[in-house]
């Protein structure tokens, strides 16, 4: 959508600057002028960084990759909201038309003890990778793609599994949770694989290990405030958390599987 007639925005960007994990960070204010409402949020940050480079300052470090809302690399707190004000939208898909001329935009990194800040807006999200490594996979080599309907999967299970698989691992759920809990992230994978035939052999072991790893990484516990669901850019539902709870109880009481020691 091109809107040449729209007024260019003048913004104050209040952004978190931190040189490294062990450095003390602080907010810095930058004035930006001539921001097109058609720019994406990350393009606005690009403009900010060009301006900083012109002034001989270090650019603001932020994670990004695909810039089309599917990779999960980008993600910052914008005015206290994970990925900004829009629902089911990543930071890269947020556009400057959502802001008013003269606004002050506060940009913070995800904050969680499990996600130490590496630099400015970049945090270390490798705890999520380690939760995945603890069981978020199917070990069996499935070979080539099978013929359609070779494995019977009911349509509702298929849809629900796909809803869980939609998680892009951005960490917004952790960022939005008052306990910095990674339950929505963990549950999305547990729920996806629990509903598919390929996930059955490791079903019990998977949930026990992924929860054990999640706890060991120092994420908080879920207190059912459902902020994660609202913040999730992929629209992952908290019903997956309930399925994880169910799977966990079932694995604990109805299987011989035991959690293996979490990796760290």
């Amino acid at each position: 959508m091109i809107s040449p007639g729209k007024k260019k925005l003048k913004l104050t960007i209040r952004v978190w600057r931190q040189k490294g994990s062990n450095e003390r960070g602080q907010f810095r204010d930058y004035l930006l002028q001539g921001i097109s409402p058609d720019m994406s949020f990350l393009e606005m940050l690009d403009i900010l960084n060009e301006q900083l480079l012109d002034h001989g300052e270090e650019p603001v470090a932020f994670d990004h990759d695909c810039r089309e809302g599917i990779c999960g690399a980008c993600g910052v707190m914008i005015n206290g909201q994970a990925h900004g004000p829009d629902n089911e939208t990543t930071t890269c898909q947020l556009h400057m038309r959502r802001f008013q001329d003269g606004d002050t935009i506060v940009i913070e990194p995800w904050r969680a003890s499990a996600f130490p800040v590496l630099r400015d807006l970049i945090v270390d999200r490798s705890p999520l990778d380690r939760i995945m490594q603890a069981g978020g996979y199917v070990s069996v080599n499935t070979g080539q793609a099978p013929d359609g309907n070779c494995l019977p999967v009911p349509r509702h299970d298929q849809e629900s599994a796909m809803d869980g698989a939609a998680c892009i691992g951005c960490g917004a759920c952790v960022a939005a949770c008052k306990n910095a809990s990674a339950m929505l992230f963990t549950s999305a994978k547990v729920s996806q694989l629990a509903q598919l035939p390929q996930g059955q052999p490791e079903r019990a072991q998977r949930v026990l290990n992924m929860v054990a790893q999640m706890d060991a990484e120092g994420f908080g516990s879920c207190t059912n405030t459902y902020e994660c669901e609202a913040a999730c850019p992929a629209g992952v539902s908290i019903s997956h958390i309930a399925r994880l709870n169910r799977e966990y109880v079932k694995a604990s009481f109805c299987s011989t599987a035991e959690p293996t020691i979490p990796m760290k």
Partner: protein, 254 residues
């Protein structure tokens, strides 16, 4: 028993126990409220209920043990989880935080789901007072055995201090369970689009019923104490612990 230890030390397992005990305590609230409402039916009905309840000693011991175990377990595990969350979750808080939940009607810092620890703490303070009044009779020793359960209840509820503590306590209790009930279902893994919206509405309704139902007793006590107080003298004790209510001035409509 390694698996049980793993279950009870994991975040999911602990939440499961909090949910299970919470649901049991909610069930108790329903029974308790039903019993209390007999006070409005009549003093006799209430007394009969109280005597029947206390006639089966074994059952009472089992029920009370279960109840105290559930209550203590609920408090200890929930408090443990909350303190762990407070300590570990976030070493630096956000400069601003704004909810993205569109169904939030109360400001974030007052919402039931954000204040469970605080409302729970107020409920605990109220419970200590309530148990000391009704279970252990502390401060009401002068009533002795000669007053019927209904007369004791009416006298306690006409005390100004008790009216305040009980009213505030049950309001916090209602607030607590309005999130607690649906949260318990979620923690037990019972969430499905086909019934979860009903559970969520039911949870708010349950909170209202608890707050209004239990809250009506201190309010009725306040009205009674202003208009037609039950004094210790007026309630004539009868030999053998059994009391009659013929002379009691309070009428069932309170």
């Amino acid at each position: 028993m390694h698996w049980l230890k793993a279950f009870l030390t994991s975040s999911v397992g602990r939440k499961f126990v909090v949910g299970l005990t919470g649901l049991f305590l909610c069930f108790f609230l329903v029974v308790h409220l039903a019993g209390n409402l007999l006070l409005y039916v009549g003093v006799d009905a209430y007394n009969e209920y109280a005597h029947k309840l206390h006639s089966n000693e074994e059952l009472l011991i089992i029920a009370e043990t279960l109840l105290f175990a559930a209550l203590i377990g609920h408090i200890l595990i929930a408090a443990g989880l909350t303190f762990t969350n407070w300590r570990n979750a976030r070493n630096k808080s956000y400069r601003t935080f704004d909810s993205k939940r569109e169904d939030r009607t109360t400001p974030m810092s007052f919402a039931p789901d954000q204040t469970m620890m605080l409302t729970g703490l107020f409920v605990l303070i109220f419970l200590i007072c309530h148990l000391s009044d009704f279970k252990f009779g502390l401060g009401w020793e002068n009533l002795g055995e000669s007053y019927s359960p209904a007369q004791k209840a009416l006298l306690v509820l006409e005390n100004t201090w008790r009216q305040g503590i009980y009213l505030v306590g049950v309001l916090f209790l209602g607030y607590h369970v309005s999130h607690g009930l649906q949260s318990a279902f979620q923690s037990l893994g019972l969430n499905h689009p086909k019934y979860m919206p009903t559970i969520r509405r039911l949870s708010v309704l349950f909170g209202l019923v608890v707050a209004i139902g239990f809250g009506s007793f201190p309010i009725a006590g306040l009205v009674r104490s202003q208009t037609n107080p039950t004094s210790v003298e007026q309630v004539s004790p009868v030999e053998g612990g059994e009391a009659v209510d013929a002379e009691t001035p309070h009428s069932p409509e309170h």
